[in-house]
């Protein structure tokens, strides 16, 4: 077991940020903490990286206890915090050298691990970190978190504010790191990234709502979701919300995901209702749920 969390709780004043959370991450696994801002993801990261004490519960990382053996943990984990926290006034290369030196290693020693990522920022190695674009900063931060060849990598919202292309490339990098035997705990508010993890925990308001593989979470979802389309999407949203037996109505890109309270739901009746509301180009069909559908129903 690479990470073991048992009944961890943490409060700030009266607010319970993390409420009796337990989960385990297997060695070599990519485990995702999926949830919005304020769910408790960062607090959990800080406890596991030994930067914060939990009020209750125990946790271990790479076999070491987060309190009694915190120094051992610090040597064998890499942590990329959500907020960019490298030295803005040092250059790309200086930052990397600095972190390598802290851990008693050198860029050369573990170069193979960071090579794929580092070659993308190498043309800017003499640029100050503060002057890099968002995507470049993220790559540098990942290099710095990897330079001592950690056993476990903690990535706190590494893709927040990152464009879809860079996000895709970032996940390809994570897959390559996983193949090199590194265990990865990653958090994200992007539900589409959940599908790229081996297992995920859906987390909200300090509690875990569900832990499973993304496929299982989707397969076990028991409601039928209808994909509804019409020409005027905004009016469609309003009219669907006024349909008497509606259970949930959510915009999903160019269509609307609709679920009904009744087990005997008849899509033809809904279509008739929409026709009466003067909708055109109406299309109703059953669709496969996404992690986002499941999350919103929890």
């Amino acid at each position: 077991m690479s990470i073991k969390v048992q009944n961890i709780s943490k409060s700030y004043n009266k607010i319970k940020a993390v409420d009796a959370i337990s989960f385990e991450v297997n060695e070599g696994e990519i485990f995702g903490l999926i949830g919005p801002d304020g769910a408790g993801k960062t607090t959990l990261f800080r406890i596991l990286t030994t930067l914060l004490f939990a009020d209750e519960g125990t946790a271990s990382v790479a076999g070491f206890d987060v309190i009694k053996q915190y120094k051992s943990i610090r040597n064998c984990v890499g942590y990329m915090p959500g907020k960019f926290s490298l030295y803005q006034d040092l250059t790309v290369e200086e930052n990397l050298t600095f972190f390598a030196t802290l851990f008693g290693t050198s860029i050369e020693e573990n170069y193979d691990l960071i090579k794929d990522i580092y070659i993308q920022i190498e043309p800017f190695k003499n640029r100050r970190a503060g002057a890099l674009s968002g995507g470049m900063k993220q790559k540098l931060a990942l290099c710095c978190a990897l330079i001592h060849k950690p056993k476990v990598l903690f990535l706190d919202e590494p893709t927040t504010g990152v464009d879809p292309v860079s996000r895709k490339e970032f996940w390809q990098m994570l897959k390559r790191l996983q193949q090199k035997g590194i265990t990865i705990l990653v958090s994200t508010p992007y539900m589409d990234e959940a599908a790229l993890c081996d297992r995920i925990a859906l987390i909200q308001k300090g509690s875990i709502l569900k832990i499973d593989s993304p496929q299982n979470i989707i397969e076990k979802y028991d409601k039928t979701i209808y994909d509804v389309r019409a020409k005027n999407i905004y009016q469609l949203l309003i009219d669907l919300k006024n349909y008497p037996s509606q259970y949930s109505v959510y915009a999903f890109g160019e269509s609307i995901h609709y679920t009904d309270k009744e087990t005997e739901f008849d899509p033809a009746a809904l279509e008739k209702y929409l026709e009466e509301k003067k909708h055109t180009e109406i299309a109703i069909r059953i669709t496969i749920p996404t992690i986002e559908d499941v999350f919103m129903d929890l």
Binding site: P36, G38, D163, P164, V165, P189, Y190, G253
Partner: protein
């Protein structure tokens, strides 16, 4: 859609030394339109947006926003627009009422107007119980909705939303877009940047910036047809770095 132009951009360019961040972009935005302004990190979106809201001077080219020239009438531009970003929305250490009063003052509203708007806003958002609480005590989702309403206090013709939904939970994100839709229906123009490609589908038209230039501009439907893909995410992947969709 009404074809009255709210933004007219012609050959707008911004150079930083030898680096051209925004490279002669041209486009129009119409009244009541939801205009999605997309691009990869570092493509020049923020620089372009800064010029449009009057806080950065173009190197060359011109932009007329809400009837004013961003070069010579920057102050008038600032007064005529609303702006909200995820990074800066409101003062955490002021109460909800204090924030509304403060921004009302900044936007040049009279005391009577501020009073009226405050009451209206608190009513509409259902914030009676928390009106005198500090903004930092509000959940993130409420903050976003409130700061959107605050950006609309002075009834601007156009509102710039810079990644308004980053990190917000999926339900709040959708509620936020319903507010955007409703505002567009009233005739306000919404200029939105986002990294959520499902949100790009909600826009009337979308532009995609690549390396300082506007590489594509059309409705989501037409863009998908043009690039023979099923989603805006795939359009983006194709354009932004010539990456083939998976």
């Amino acid at each position: 859609m009404n074809q009255e132009k709210i933004i007219t951009v012609k050959n707008l360019t911004k150079e930083f030394g030898s680096f051209t961040a925004v490279d002669s972009i041209s486009f129009d935005v119409y009244k009541g339109e939801i205009f999605g302004f997309l691009g990869a990190n570092g493509a020049g979106k923020t620089t372009a947006m800064k010029m449009l809201i009057g806080i950065s001077k173009p190197t060359s080219g011109e932009a007329i926003v809400a009837g004013f020239d961003v070069k010579n009438q920057a102050e008038m531009v600032k007064k005529s627009i609303g702006y909200m970003s995820q990074k800066f929305s409101m003062y955490d250490d002021l109460t909800i009422k204090e924030n509304i009063t403060f921004f009302g003052g900044i936007y040049g509203l009279s005391r009577a107007q501020i009073k009226e708007k405050t009451a209206q806003l608190i009513q509409e958002l259902g914030l009676h119980d928390v009106a005198d609480k500090l903004v930092k005590s509000l959940p993130q989702g409420w903050k976003q909705k409130l700061s959107f309403s605050v950006a609309l206090l002075h009834e601007p013709k156009i509102v710039f939303l810079d990644e308004p939904t980053g990190g917000v939970d999926p339900i709040t994100r959708r509620q936020f877009w319903e507010m955007i839709y409703a505002e567009a229906h009233k005739g306000t123009t919404l200029f939105v940047t986002t990294h959520y490609m499902d949100e790009a589908e909600y826009c009337d038209r979308v532009s995609i910036m690549v390396e300082g230039k506007i590489e594509a501009l059309d409705s989501p439907k037409n863009l998908k047809q043009k690039y023979h893909v099923d989603s805006m995410n795939d359009v983006f992947l194709k354009l932004a770095r010539n990456v083939e969709a998976p």
